[in-house]
Amino acid sequence: MTETFEPKIVAFVCTYCTYAGADLAGTSRMKYASNVRMVRLPCTGRISPMFILKALQKGADGVLVSGCHPGDCHFAQGNYHARRRWTVFRSLLAFTGIPEERIKFSWISAAEGAKFAELINSITDEIRALGPFEQYQELQKVIETQSTY
């Protein structure tokens, strides 16, 4: 890790709450780290675990998944479904050694521009401190880099 390491963070967010919250942070001219790339989805219920794995394969050092607070889902229940899936998938990732610190989940409402900005800053700092997560990407090359290949 060099001191210039800037983590790449991919965020999967619902359009009604977190994306809107991020917009609010913008209209309020709050400043936050530029490391996050947002992928806009209709609802957290749309977010499949494969998205997270693909982001890691693409070189994300951290992933954020965020949507509406419980009870506030535009689609009434999408975030409740999402929460269960994340609970399960998160434990699976942790069990396979993908550090929990790199996969963040949050509820950010359309009103929480400030929370969004703060969260992005804090997770960027945290993941920057953790350093790059190349181990996952490099799994692709395990076989051909073995001495026996």
Binding site: Q140, I143, S147, T148, Y149
Partner: protein, 337 residues
Amino acid sequence: MTRILLHSRVDDCLSAWRSAGFRVLAPSKRNDLTRFDEVHAASDMALDLVLPERTIKDHFFPQTEPLLNYRIKKQAIESDEMLPPQQKRIFFGVRPCDASGLEIDDALFGWDYKDRYWFSRRENSVIITIACTRADDFCMCTSVQLSPDSTKGSDVMLHPLKDGRGWRVVTLTDRGKELAETIASMLQEDASETAPAASVPVKFDLDKVTSWLADPSNFESHLWKEVSQRCIGCGSCTFLCPTCHCFDIQDEGDTYSGIRRKNWDSCSFAMFTMHTSGHNPRNTQSTRWRQRIMHKFNYYQGKFGVNSCSGCGRCTRQCPVDMGITETLQEITNLPR
């Protein structure tokens, strides 16, 4: 003149070979799996196995292998082939069945045009085989006209000595002779008796089997369904087979670049022959099992003059539902004439 290699000199051989630029692979056990792996000392080796679970095919035709890499540009593409590293290798402690498998597959990879990925590895490898003095319930080399000490595919053959001190060394090819020279000082003249080869019962009548398979009227025999009824359609028998060689080609990458890979594929998989139209010539597990048997004991024979089975028995040994080639060929053998 017979020369022997003592177990105690193996470490010396390994250093000699390493200094000659070879990488030595031998059966070893790592992470609950026995397979050929790089070894640095005799103690790394697991030579007491009847057979390692994985075959040496893995090191000539890897489960996934980059063919080329590509880069996508605006209205342009670039690609470079990715050939295997030119690394000299010694496979030490190969079993005769696995060594035979390589020679069987040479025919396929060599017809019409020589597959550079296979042959660059073949040409850089020396196969040191140890004749089998033990067999298990699944071994069936003798049923396919091979034997526990068959030399097919080997460059050097080691016959275990009766007293267990080492092996008698028999060089079989020029490459084998050259290699033996590199360790000449570690070998010694010795006329000690070698241990008898393992006794492997013949399990089916290969002649009867091949002639039955060659009869087109048996193609639609009810036997195919009966013997394959419990087959679950996984690919473990094909992937652990020393001669199965089917593969798929897949591109993997992102928007900007990627790698085109050659991946193992299996005739057991329903998707193997599926056309994009949805039509699937082999649409049931029994037709896929028939293809596997026919390919090994009829088609391959017809095309390359050799059966595509070296009798290792792994297909049955590891089958999740206790199926395998042996059972099917036994059934055929047991059919009334």
